[in-house]
Every structure is written in structure tokens, then in C-alpha cells.
Subunit: 591 residues, 2 copies
């Protein structure tokens, strides 16, 4: 039996054809380029030859699509020869380019007809299928938005028009999806980030170069502090490296060869060639190599939250999720082969403790990310080492009952890894923690230690990140909490609201107590009603509001309201500060 997912895919793929079909029947002049069904619906890219198209045109196109659906026209696949294909699409350079490619690959050419094959009134496109049998099976459709997109995603090519849409078997399913979409839009981290004043971008600084404002910096710093504190229990030490290095460093590591497209070159007025660091591992090998090491010194575990740089395409960047500079809690352990397993397990323990403190443990799925045996050119290191490393990860998976899925082709450049994945609010998989085994890089950098037998040996490297990219992590946290951070992470933990000017002095006294206890607060002295002030604090998801009227001032106590609406009147300041300190220190999810 067909799964629901396969059926949805067919429905959307066919809806996409019906969309083009409707555009044609409406007399629009355009060249079809390409478009797939996606997890959420479909999109199609085309070159509009005349006029404009905007969301206001959607109802008209949808009406025409529904007409075609109602007619229940058969959708039929056909394999054709190159000559026929070239003729069918003779006015369309995009399709001609597709045909070149199909020919180069030596694949068969298939088209799908909506209507009788080879009739002028039928719609036809180059397509591998699959589709539903006839348009009547499509259900309900909806066009969603329009955007620009480069032909084949390359900025050097022409900018095309892209229209997004979706289709579901029933109206009820579509409505649920549209509601969800609306919620997602409101929780988009870019919008929330602006509203809560967490980060910003500037055209003068450049695309994908994020700047964290004071509020966002607090969140970043608190995450880092939590991470360092947990890691310290496992003997991890912080180090600090520069942001550039001679390209020679990456020639040895292999990055210059495998990722040259992603490297930013740095030019000195003098004679050396530099790049911005895309990863930290090569620098960390140089700290390891700075002194003689003995087996007694191992494991040596470095951690560092520092920015990395990758030359992303300007069009590929998106909020905090894809940026040109991004901070990662990048760590490297150097150990003996015998120590690998325990070190990997310890890192998994750190991951568990950290995500538990964020209330996120239990939602993850785990991947054993192995080589793709069919593309050995993508990796460095020798085959035996890869086999050993992959077996070790399998053992750890069994011992800890991780129930990981094996994902071929997801390994790192230098070795296999265990990835902790989380579905974000938009349903996408996000890689969070990762533990990666590497037998290759220590050899390339000639790293050694003196073994118990007095001879030189090569250490093994474990690459690991607990939190991953701070930007991505914060984006995900924002979208999943809608900005209602746990108290320990909230940039402003308390807002003090004096009801009138008469209690401004008392507000300052209360503030001093909070300051001394290192509780993050703001005083809202603005000339507004208390109702407005509470509403504003609520919108900013500030965990607690301390409300100070003359009654509180006289009694030298406070009234507290939390962001969930719970209120307490006339309690002592110290009972509140005891409570909040406890919530902060225990990293509680509750208020």
C-alpha cells in the first residue's frame, strides 16, 4: 500500500503541472524552467516574458487550476526520443539545457501529458513522475507566495520568478496547514529577533554577517557559560585562536582542497597567502604540537566558542540559519586509541546534560553519519581507519542504546560521526550536538605522543560540538519557545513597574537589590498606564514583573506577576529573590 507521504508527493507534483497548465490557459507568456514537489507543497520557476505576476493574481490562477482539476483530465507518462523532445520544447532554452544534461547522463527522456498525448490542447512537461492518474485526484490546492530565484541556483544566471503553492487531499488538511503556517510566520526567528532586539544585520557590514545586540549577547554568553561549566567536569579546557591562518595550514588539513569554494581569501600587503578559518581543528592541532606530549598527558581536551567563516552565496543566506560568519562551540580531544570510547561517551553525557537543562532532551533523533562508499574522493584518510572508526561508533551506539539511524554520505571530511538531530519548528532537521572520530588529521599534522613503551605514537582526534552554531541554536530556540526563554537565558529576567512617580525611589531600591544579586532587570519608568506596561512586558516574554504601588512601598513589599499570568500580592522581596535565584541556578524550565 502507498504511504500517505508518497501520495502527498504525487498530488503536489501533479498540482505543480496543473499550475503551469492554468498559467498557459490564462494566456500568460512565459518559459517554464523547473520545479519540484517538496515536503510542504511545490514550487515552480519560470521566466515571465511579458508583464508582471503578483499575489493578487493568485485567485484567478487558482480558479483556473480548480477548473482543470474538476475536468479530471488524465495524466500520462511517455518515453520519447531526443528529436521529438527537442521539437516539443524548441522555443524553450531551459528545457533544451535539461535535454543536454539528460543526454550527457545517457538517461531516457520522459514527459508527462495532462490530456491526450501529442494534442495541442494538452499540457506537457519534461518529467520523471510519478503523478496521480488524473487531475481529479489532486484534491485542494493553494498558491502561497512569490519570490525570485536564479536559474539552477547560480547567481551568474538569470533571475526567474518562483511561485510556491501546496495541495492536500482535503480542505480540512489544507486549513490545518495554513493555520500552522501562520503560526510559523509569527515565530520566524527573524521577526522575533527584531521584536525582542536580539540581533541585527546591516547593509554596510554585509549579508550574513550577524551582529548581536546586548540582549542577544546575553543569551550567547549564558549558553557558553553553561556549556563550559558542564564540560569542566570532564576535564575540558578553553583555548583561544586567531581568525586567520596561512593557506598552508589548510593544505595540510585537506580543507583547501575539498572546500576551496567556501574559503574566504585574505590578502596581506606582504608575501603570504591567508584564509579566514572555516574550522578550528587545524589551529588546535598546532596548540597540541606546541610542546612534547606523553601518554600521561592524554586525553587533552580543547574547547572554544569562536567564529568561523564560510563564503556562502549571497542568495543562500537566511537569518541566523545560514550566515557567512557563525560562532560554533568547537572542541577537539586528543587521546590514545584506547581512550576513544570513553571520551566519546563523556561527550554524549555532556550533550545530554546540556539539552536537559534546556528542556530539549528526548526530542532528538540520532544519526550514525558514515561515508558514502561510492564517493571516496570526498574524504581524507585511509580505509582501515574508516572501518575501525565506524565499528567503534556502532559499538557506542549499541552500548548506550542510542537507536541511531545509519546515514550514509553524512560523514565529515576526516571521519564518521554521531549527530544529534532535532526537528525545528518548521519541521526541518537541525544538527545540534556531534561527536566525530578522526584518525586522518593527526597523521597529516605529524602529531605524536610518547607511549608507555617510550616510542612515538599518533594520537586520535575527536571533534565535537555540543550546541553547534550559536546562530542556528538561537534561531531554533526562538522558534520553539516563541521567545519565552527559560529564566536563566532570558535577557531581561525582571521588569520593575512603578505604578506612579511616587514609587520611583522605591523602584530604585528594589533594583539595587536585584543588581547585587546579578539578576537582570529593567525599570519601566515610562509615562504610560500600568496596563500598557504589563502588556509590553508580556509581549517581550519577560519572565517576571515586579509591580510597585504606594501600598507595596508603605509595606516595603512587592507584588509579582509572571509571564504566564500568575500573580502574588504583598510578598517580601527576599522571598522573591530566593525563588528566582533558585530557578536560575537550577536552570529550571518553570517560573
Amino acid at each position: 500500500m502507498e504511504t500517505n507521504k508518497e501520495n502527498l508527493f504525487k498530488i503536489r507534483h501533479s498540482a505543480e503541472h496543473v499550475f503551469m497548465h492554468a498559467m498557459r490557459d490564462l494566456g500568460l507568456q512565459f518559459l517554464m524552467a523547473m520545479g519540484p514537489a517538496t515536503d510542504d507543497g511545490f514550487y515552480f520557476d519560470f521566466e515571465l516574458l511579458d508583464g508582471n505576476i503578483s499575489e493578487s493574481d493568485f485567485p484567478k490562477i487558482e480558479a483556473k487550476m480548480n477548473e482543470i482539476i474538476k475536468q479530471n483530465i488524465p495524466i500520462v507518462g511517455e518515453e520519447i526520443d531526443e528529436k521529438t523532445a527537442r521539437e516539443l520544447f524548441f522555443t524553450n532554452p531551459y528545457k533544451q539545457e535539461w535535454l543536454d544534461e539528460i543526454k550527457n547522463k545517457g538517461e531516457a527522456i520522459t514527459v508527462y501529458w495532462t490530456g491526450k498525448p501529442h494534442e495541442m490542447s494538452s499540457f506537457v512537461d519534461l518529467c520523471k513522475g510519478p503523478h496521480v492518474n488524473s487531475t481529479g485526484e489532486i484534491g485542494v490546492i493553494k498558491l502561497l507566495s512569490t519570490a525570485g530565484a536564479y536559474w539552477r541556483g547560480n547567481e551568474k544566471n538569470k533571475m526567474l520568478t518562483r511561485i510556491y503553492g501546496t495541495a492536500f487531499p482535503t480542505q480540512a488538511e489544507l486549513d490545518t496547514y495554513l493555520e500552522e503556517l501562520e503560526k510559523r510566520k509569527q515565530n520566524d526567528h527573524r521577526i522575533l529577533g527584531q521584536k525582542l532586539d536580539l540581533f541585527t544585520f546591516s547593509d554596510l557590514v554585509g549579508k550574513g554577517l550577524v551582529m548581536y545586540t546586548p540582549n542577544g549577547t546575553i543569551i550567547k554568553n549564558e549558553l557558553n557559560k553553561a556549556l563550559v561549566k558542564i564540560s569542566r567536569k570532564y576535564g575540558v579546557q578553553e583555548v583561544n585562536i586567531p581568525h586567520m591562518a596561512k593557506i598552508d595550514l589548510y593544505k595540510i588539513s585537506g580543507h583547501a582542497d575539498k572546500f576551496s569554494e567556501e574559503l574566504f581569501k585574505v590578502t596581506s600587503h606582504f608575501d603570504e597567502e591567508f584564509v579566514l578559518k572555516p574550522v578550528n581543528c587545524p589551529h588546535h592541532t598546532q596548540i597540541y604540537a606546541s610542546r612534547p606530549r606523553s601518554y600521561k598527558d592524554l586525553p587533552i581536551r580543547y574547547i572554544e566558542s569562536t567564529q568561523q567563516h564560510r563564503d556562502e552565496k549571497p542568495g543562500a543566506m537566511s537569518g541566523l540559519n545560514r550566515t557567512r560568519s557563525f560562532e560554533i562551540d568547537d572542541g577537539h580531544t586528543f587521546c590514545t586509541p584506547e581512550q576513544i570510547k570513553q571520551e566519546a561517551i563523556n561527550t554524549i553525557k555532556i550533550i545530554e546534560e546540556f539539552y536537559t537543562a534546556l528542556g530539549m532532551w528526548g526530542n532528538q533523533w540520532i544519526s550514525l553519519s558514515f561515508r558514502d562508499p561510492s564517493t571516496p574522493e570526498k574524504y581524507i584518510g585511509d580505509n582501515n581507519d574508516w572501518n575501525t572508526a565506524e565499528s567503534l561508533l556502532r559499538e557506542i551506539n549499541d552500548e548506550l542504546s542510542l537507536n541511531a539511524k545509519i546515514m550514509e554520505g553524512e560523514a565529515a571530511l576526516y571521519g564518521p560521526k554521531i549527530d544529534f538531530m532535532l526537528k525545528d519548528a518548521l519541521g526541518n532537521d537541525r544538527q545540534l550536538g556531534t561527536v566525530q572520530l578522526d584518525f586522518a588529521m593527526p597523521k597529516r599534522f605529524n602529531l605524536v605522543y610518547i607511549g608507555e613503551d617510550g616510542t612515538e605514537k599518533t594520537p586520535v582526534m575527536l571533534h565535537r560540538a555540543i550546541l553547534g552554531s550559536y546562530g542556528r541554536f538561537i534561531a531554533n530556540l526562538l522558534e520553539s519557545t516563541a521567545g519565552a526563554f527559560p529564566v536563566w537565558l532570558a535577557p531581561v529576567q525582571v521588569v520593575i513597574i512603578p505604578i506612579s512617580e511616587k514609587t520611583h525611589d522605591y523602584a530604585k531600591e528594589v533594583a539595587t537589590t536585584l543588581f547585587d544579586l546579578e539578576i537582570r532587570y529593567e525599570i519601566d519608568n515610562k509615562d504610560e498606564t500600568m496596563g500598557n506596561k504589563i502588556r509590553k512586558a508580556q509581549e517581550l516574554k519577560i519572565p517576571y514583573m515586579i509591580i510597585l504601588g504606594e501600598k507595596e512601598s508603605t509595606a516595603q513589599n512587592i507584588s509579582v506577576r509572571n509571564r504566564e499570568g500568575t500573580q502574588q500580592f504583598g510578598i517580601s522581596l527576599s522571598s522573591f529573590t530566593d525563588h528566582i535565584k533558585n530557578v536560575i541556578i537550577s536552570k529550571s524550565q518553570n517560573l
Copy 2:
């Protein structure tokens, strides 16, 4: 009356001539290039035409120099015309180049003769003086070391030989200086940094790109924490920016124009031109500009410890003092004109509190660093603003009785500043804290706030650094303490020394207590004598040693020895931890 300093300068300047004179009389073949008297002695650069010269040749040259000194030959200045000068130095292209330059400037040509003018046996050099009257006044001389140096400091020119030497009126003064020099060599931060394992460099990473090891990172982080904690009292907030930006940002700020030689260019595969950030101010203006601001929001105070990059000449780099990437605690306040004075005063208070915590307050001298009115092309901004800013700094100087010296030509690109200077262990002035007024940059970036009257106004920027460059600061701290850091900064605060294997378990128990109190410790379990372990801890300047024998284990107490040699036997662990926690929290200079 002549000061001692002026006299020393003459002695050394004359010694430098006698040095060349002696080289000539010994029959060495060379071309004189140039050489000055310095604060420490003198040096001379020359091109050796034949053979080698090394420190083993020094005694022979010194003997010849002493002969010339003993002969008490007169040293006589003379102004000569160009033709005579060209002839006098006709075989020497370096002197011809000097003569070109003197001619271009339209200055008079002077030479100094050792011996009768225009006699073949006399020594002559192009020189502006002043000198002692005759070689007999020189006192005692000493040649110190040899090095390579590019002609006029430019790598594109020929590499010359440089010889360093010194001279003093008496042997006793020379001996004191040589002793001091030996001590300085031992306290050189590059040597101490290696010994205490604080930082490292790697040829693969590149010159001047420092990597901090775990110990050095602890010091950096502790300094930053202390700084942020003090700053927080004055409403300063941390922000976080990327390490690159479009060059457009620096075209507006003026850096692209004034410092283009120091900028590292970053090349993307796409179309924009980037540079590595040489300063933070332009980025911080963009955070300010990310939302509308009202006078009620001001002052806004950003601080950030982050790396900056400058394209230093490979030959100019030196340990942590001059590097291509360096971290600075760079901060910027945006305020109204009325708030400038209080904000500047608050920053000076932060500086005072910070340096007091390091036991360094009281040794500084203060500079009011103003424009050089003769080189207006070096600055941006308009004249009235400069005058206002300089008057304001004078007022602050008077009000706080800073007794600052006015240093013309030491201003920043955008405005005058108050600099806090410290003489380092080598007698050089090092800039530590700085407060800088800037009316220019906010205008260039069109920054605004809504004033109390509802109209748009331009804020003023204060640039400030408390600690300055972390690298330079740590170098200075290392050289002045010889590595004996105050306890709160010491990378390892306690070493636990079990006397034999029998007390290894007890050592672990003690360690757990220290760990829980966040005291930084190491256990020295190595198979060595207790004497050796104590000596090693002493050499590494570890503040406290906890020594655990069977006696201590049985009594469940500890013996403690501090790095100054004071010992306490059989005290309770908790009395020690109370003491050390107190020393750490109060940032005491004592043990």
C-alpha cells in the same frame, strides 16, 4: 645645566661614531648606512662588503674603541656644501641617498669629524650632532648583540647588519645596566610565556597570529570577567560582532582612506569587497543604528572583547606586543553632548578600579593626546568639534586633578583622547586605558536620536578601552610580575602534592572539594621527590602547594606552602579554602 639624559645621549651618539671609527681602523670593508643613540644605548646599520661579523669579534672591536677613547680625540661639527659632501661619501650609495633627502628638505648639511677635519686619518659621518667634545668624555662602552635590519626598515630594501651597543659614564653604571638587562631577558614575556605554557605561535598558522593555550586562556577570560563586572556598575552592555565587513563600512568611517596599508583584504567568490575589521567602532555604530533611539535611551554603552586585525610587516612583529591579530576590550558610548563629561569620568573610574585590582594604580602617567595642528590631513571631523573636544578633556583633567601631559600629535583619527600610560619592565611607555571623544563618526554614519524637543540630533561617541590589547597587557603583566600573578589570575591556583602513593586517594578527595569551589588546581602525581615537586611549583609561580603525607591523611587535614615560602602544617582544608576564596574574590595582591 645639562640633564643626565642629554649627557647620556651625547655619550652614546659619540660612542656610535667611535664604533664605526674602530671598525674602519681594523680594516673591515663596509658601507655605513645609519644609526642613532637610543634610550638604552646605540645601534649602527651597515653593509658588510667582505666576510662576516659575529659577537666573537666584539672584544677586538671594543679594544680598538677603547684605544680611540683613550686618545681623547676631539669631535668637531662642520657645515659643508653639497659638492663637498657628495665627494666625501662618493663610494657610499646610502649616504648619497641621505644627501638627496637633506637637499629635498632644503636643510643644511652637517658632518662630524673625529680628529682634525678633512684629514684622511680622521673619521667623518653625516650627522646633526650633538656630541661630546672629545672621545675621552665617552666613558665605558660595551657591544651587546648583532641582528639583521632592512635599509630604512623596508623589507623591499637590502638587509644590512645591525650592531647594538651601549655606553655609560662609569663602569658601575654599566654593570648595573648589564645586570638589569640579564634580569629583563629572563623576564622576557616570550620566554616566560613558553615556560608557563600561556601561548604559542606556529609557522603553519603564520607570524603574529597568537594562540592562547589553556593557561593563557584562563588569564584572558579572568581579565575579561573582571572588566565586565566593573563595567556593569556603569550600565555598560556586551555586544558581539563579526570579524569582517564590506570595505564600504570603512570608507564611511575613514579607516579605508587613512589606514589602507594596515587593512587585510578579504575576497569572496562573489561580488563584494571585504576587509578584516581593524577596529570595532563602525560595527558598533550599526548596532546603534538598528533601531530608532530617543534621548531617553541614552547613554547607550557597548563593550566587547574581540579580535582586531592589522597587516603588520612580518619583521615588525614581536611576541605579544605587536601581532597581526590582537584582542582589545573595545567599547563605545553613544550619548548627548551634555552627558559626555560624566561618561568620560565614569570610564576613568572603571580604569582606576580595574588597575587597583591589579595593584597597578599609582604607577601610571596620563596623556592628553591632542591633534598635531601642523598635520590636519591625518584627522577627520571639523575644527570646531576638535576644539570643543579638546577643551572638554582639559576640563576633566582639571576637575579630576589628573596632572596629564599634553601630547600633540597623539590624537586618534576622529578626536582627542586621555591615555593612561605605564612604563613597562623594559622602560617603554605602554598605553593601557584610553578615553576618546568623537564628534566626527556619528555624523559620517548619520546616527541620530530624537531629542527632548522632538527633533533629530546627532549623538557623540566615546571610544574607550580599559585594558587595551590583551596580548600587550599580558606581556606587561608577565614582565612586571615574572609570572607571579595575583591568585585570582593564576592559571593554576593550587598544586596538590601527595608525598607517596599512599595519599593519592586523599589527594583526590581534597581535589573534589577544590573543584566544587571552582578553585583551579592540579595534582602532581608524578614519580618524583617532594623536593622536586615543590621546586617545580615554585618555578611555575603557583600560589599555593597543598602537601599531603600520611600524617595529614590520618588527621584529615592539610599542610600548605605558598610560593613565597610561608608554610602552615596540619590546618583544616576548610580554613584554607575560606582563605583562598577570600583572596580570590577580593582580588587581593597578597597570598
